[in-house]
């Protein structure tokens, strides 16, 4: 009799990072990785990298794929680079004096914010009537200058009435998309809620376009399956939900990495370090779950109220630029460049010049001579660029040029004398330089490209510092270990690491130094990490072995650790949280309690007795969470209801529905 093999359940996980877009094809039940694919991220359009992955993934019949799930740095990057759409933010019932006195207006993430009379108080009572004529007057004034509108009303989670009335009125006079604060956050922090609403509004169309592009790429390959997007806390939401709440994708990439690390290694207690091309991201796994930040996600200095994994990120990765700082010390990152080995692999004349430089003894070439600029797009649209920028493009048309030569042709001495921001941002031109990847080419640990170019660059760099090449490499790896180790300590302790020359922290510095590099004859110091390190990302092995030694722990490199981030995108569960706030309805003058309000996202009830109110709230929260989870694509969701006291006589009834994603077409 033939043994029947169970049908394979294939799922595709995709992670779009700052440098690479990774894809893995997994068997969902056995966690077995069937195929993996890496392609370069195109920053100006993230969907290109995803289309490549979907196109190239090695599978005869793509229609067998039961789910596609993506984590993306799209939102995080757009915020960091100020590329979101223009937003008008209406602050209803906010106190301008208070906001100004704490200098909080910068935190709103848009320069177009307007104060409107209105808002509620802690008891959900109208603090002041909503000034609708003023709101409409201001809408009329700004509607042709912005792309979306955000509204946040004071204490709107307790009573969203003013936000809803504002939405109806604005929608009557213009067609701009409108985002309401209470729909994104039930927390009472009014500034964070406003920031969250403004950021969400600014990312709305971008995420919609992104999801539509991914959907089209899936369609082209006949993949008719649920599409999920990873949230900042690592849980999943379906594409429709994601298109409405892009802020929830902030930090989704690093969160997926942490989950992928746990998923592939099976370690329930660990520190996950994801070493990418641009950054290294840290996250903590405890009892099998990613630790979530108490404060809510923060990005580029903006504090939001959406839930996200507690993460720490440093600008150090495989393609970080190795440079000299002002004190002629080796600096690594945060800028990411194309490794010289790769540039030389792509273009002919690079290796010869670098070799010639390496042979030049006098005057000794400077490490800055190693920097190259090159054209990234064949026929860029140049109309929006300055004359100088267009000139640079012309100079680079024949092929890559050393940065110093480009500057010389422009009659300049230093790159700081010219602003080429548009060219960098639009990825018209790119930068290449000496990177950790080059050093790996020299020592033979990773050699896909031209190691001769890397060798020559190393020679130039070491000569300039009057070191031999082995000494330089030793010094370099010590530096890498120190940067990552200090990041680990800072992340786990939340304490600032003192500067090296800070004499007030003499002992702390000595302790750190002696633990990283034992120096003292009589005193041995050691920092012991009680959990293993899980390394993720292509450079993880080489960069983290020494770090694990510093912390006297194991480095766990799960199978396929290079693409664990993409595996993490499919490993998460679908989660939906529904909250109901219960708080007293006070009589005039707050003398007595008349009853209790039950405020959910879209509904408001009043019940006389607290006991009944709590019972009712639990029922509603549970059934709302359950149906929302089913709509979001969860399979047999389990609901957990929790009652949290939230100030005097006030309660937060929180229902959390969690389930594995429902697979299939």
């Amino acid at each position: 009799m033939n043994k029947k093999t169970p049908p394979e359940t294939l799922v595709l996980g995709i992670d779009t990072g700052g440098t690479y877009t990774d894809g893995v094809l997994l068997e969902y039940n056995t966690h077995q990785i069937i195929a993996a694919h890496k392609s370069l991220t195109t920053k100006r359009d993230f969907s290109i990298g995803i289309e490549n992955v979907i196109k190239e993934i090695d599978l005869e019949d793509p229609s067998a794929i039961q789910m596609v799930s993506i984590s993306t740095t799209l939102a995080t990057n757009a915020i960091a680079e100020g590329k979101g759409k223009r937003v008008a933010l209406f602050l209803i019932g906010y106190d301008p004096d208070l906001i100004n006195s704490f200098d909080m207006s910068k935190r709103f993430a848009t320069p177009h914010y307007y104060y409107i009379e209105g808002g509620h108080d802690l008891h959900g009572q109208e603090k002041s009537p909503l000034d609708l004529p003023d709101l409409l007057e201001k809408t009329k004034m700004i509607k042709n200058k912005v792309d979306a509108i955000a509204v946040s009303s004071y204490f709107s989670p307790r009573n969203p009435e003013h936000e809803i009335r504002a939405q109806n009125a604005i929608a009557s006079i213009c067609d701009l998309p409108i985002v309401l604060g209470h729909q994104l956050s039930t927390l009472l922090g009014s500034v964070e809620r406003a920031t969250t609403a403004a950021l969400n509004a600014s990312l709305l169309s971008m995420l919609q376009e992104f999801i539509i592009a991914v959907r089209r790429a899936m369609e082209h390959r006949g993949i008719n399956a649920p599409l999920m997007v990873v949230r900042g806390d690592g849980t999943l939401m379906n594409d429709e939900f994601a298109a409405r709440s892009p802020v929830e994708t902030i930090h989704s990439g690093p969160a997926a990495s942490a989950i992928g690390g746990r998923f592939l290694s099976g370690e329930d207690q660990a520190l996950v370090l994801d070493v990418g091309g641009t950054t290294t991201d840290l996250a903590l796994i405890k009892d099998g779950k990613v630790i979530v930040s108490e404060k809510g996600a923060s990005v580029s200095g903006y504090q939001t109220s959406v839930q996200a994994a507690n993460l720490f990120s440093i600008g150090l990765g495989g393609d970080s630029h190795i440079n000299l700082d002002r004190g002629k010390e080796i600096s690594i990152g945060p800028e990411r460049v194309v490794p010289l080995a790769y540039l030389s692999h792509q273009y002919n004349n690079v290796q010869d010049r670098l070799k010639a430089l390496a042979k030049t003894n006098w005057p000794a070439p400077h490490p800055r001579d190693l920097e190259y600029w090159f054209l990234q797009q064949e026929n860029p649209e140049l109309n929006s660029f300055t004359a100088k920028e267009q000139q640079v493009v012309e100079i680079l048309k024949p092929g890559p040029k050393p940065a110093i030569e480009v500057l010389k042709s422009l009659g300049l001495l230093d790159a700081s004398q010219i602003s080429l921001n548009n060219l960098w941002r639009e990825e018209v031109i790119g930068k290449s330089g000496f990177t950790p990847t080059d050093i790996l080419h020299v020592d033979g640990r990773h050699t896909p490209w031209d190691k001769e170019a890397s060798k020559a660059a190393l020679t130039v760099f070491s000569h300039y510092l009057k070191l031999d090449e082995d000494q330089f490499q030793l010094l370099f790896w010590e530096n890498v270990t120190e940067i990552i180790s200090k990041a680990v300590i800072h992340f786990l302790t939340e304490k600032e690491i003192p500067a090296r020359n800070d004499s007030t922290h003499d002992l702390a510095n000595w302790f750190l130094d002696n633990s990283l590099r034992p120096e003292h004859e009589q005193l041995t110091t050691r920092i012991i990490l009680n959990v293993p390190l899980i390394g993720i990302g292509a450079p993880a092995q080489v960069m983290l072995e020494a770090v694990a030694r510093v912390f006297n722990t194991d480095l766990v490199l799960p199978a396929h650790y290079q693409v664990a981030n993409a595996a993490g995108a499919v490993a998460g569960s679908v989660m939906v949280t529904e909250e109901i706030l219960i708080y007293p309805h006070m009589s005039k003058g707050d003398a007595e309690v008349l009853g209790y309000y039950l405020q959910s996202r879209d509904n408001r009830d009043e019940i006389e007795e607290l006991e009944d109110a709590l019972t009712r709230a639990k029922e509603i929260a549970e059934s709302n969470a359950l149906s929302a989870a089913l709509r979001s694509g969860a399979n047999i969701p389990q609901v957990n209801v929790e009652v949290i006291q939230d100030g005097m006589d006030s309660y937060r009834v929180k229902a959390r529905a969690v389930g594995k994603p429902r697979l299939g077409g």
């Binding site: 004529p133 409409l136 006079i173």
Partner: protein
């Protein structure tokens, strides 16, 4: 997210706009292969969008092929009769049901100034939608929206010969005042006159210029 639904919706809106503004002329044959090509949508999306337009009576579907619904003079009479009664009903219901917010919205719309015909259409449409909204009857609002689409073609037909647009705005202001004052009969009368006057002019122009066959 269903890509086909998203595209169908977009294609529907674009085609609705093209037909109601006569860019696609009454009687024009609609070939979905070439429309799909021209507008950059899949054939499926175009086919489904055209089906929706058949329901709107803007596209005709005889046994073979599809074409933009013809405009006949009798349509003008039929459409104007219905709109006259429905809009008057909306005005009456608005007097009975309008909230202070509805009034603020209507007043804000009265203060808007259109700089070109396109904007004027949009503004007029918003105003009538806001009245329907103030009536707080979604079935009424839905029905009015459909007839607005049919009526818009007549309007566009007469457009090159129209010169009375700004006076319509004055009647908007009076109408809002009547709603505010709770004057039911006055509001109904203003709306009735407003619509009547509109169709009267359109009818005159269409006859005079012989814009549609009898």
């Amino acid at each position: 997210m269903n890509i086909n639904k998203v595209d169908t919706q977009k294609a529907y809106q674009l085609l609705w706009e093209k037909i109601t503004s006569l860019e696609l002329a009454p009687g024009e044959i609609l070939d979905f292969a070439s429309l799909a090509d021209e507008m950059g949508f899949s054939k499926t999306a175009i086919r489904e969008a055209l089906n929706l337009l058949v329901h709107d009576h803007l596209v005709e579907a005889p046994p073979r092929g599809l074409y933009v619904a013809e405009l006949q003079f009798s349509d003008l009479e039929k459409i104007s009769t219905i709109r006259l009664n429905l809009e008057t009903l909306a005005a009456q219901q608005a007097v009975l049901n309008a909230t202070t917010d509805d009034l603020v919205i209507l007043q804000a719309l009265c203060k808007e100034v259109a700089v070109d015909t396109q904007e004027y259409f949009e503004l007029d449409q918003r105003f009538h939608q806001a009245i329907a909204q103030a009536a707080h009857n979604n079935y009424l609002a839905f029905t009015l929206q459909r007839f607005y689409g049919l009526s818009k073609r007549l309007w566009y037909l007469a457009l090159p010969y129209l010169d009375f647009l700004p006076t319509a705005v004055k009647s908007h202001i009076k109408l809002v005042d009547a709603i505010r004052d709770g004057n039911e009969s006055l509001a109904m009368e203003i709306m009735k006159n407003h619509i009547e006057e509109f169709y009267l002019k359109i009818r005159e122009i269409i006859k005079e210029k012989d814009l549609i066959k009898e």
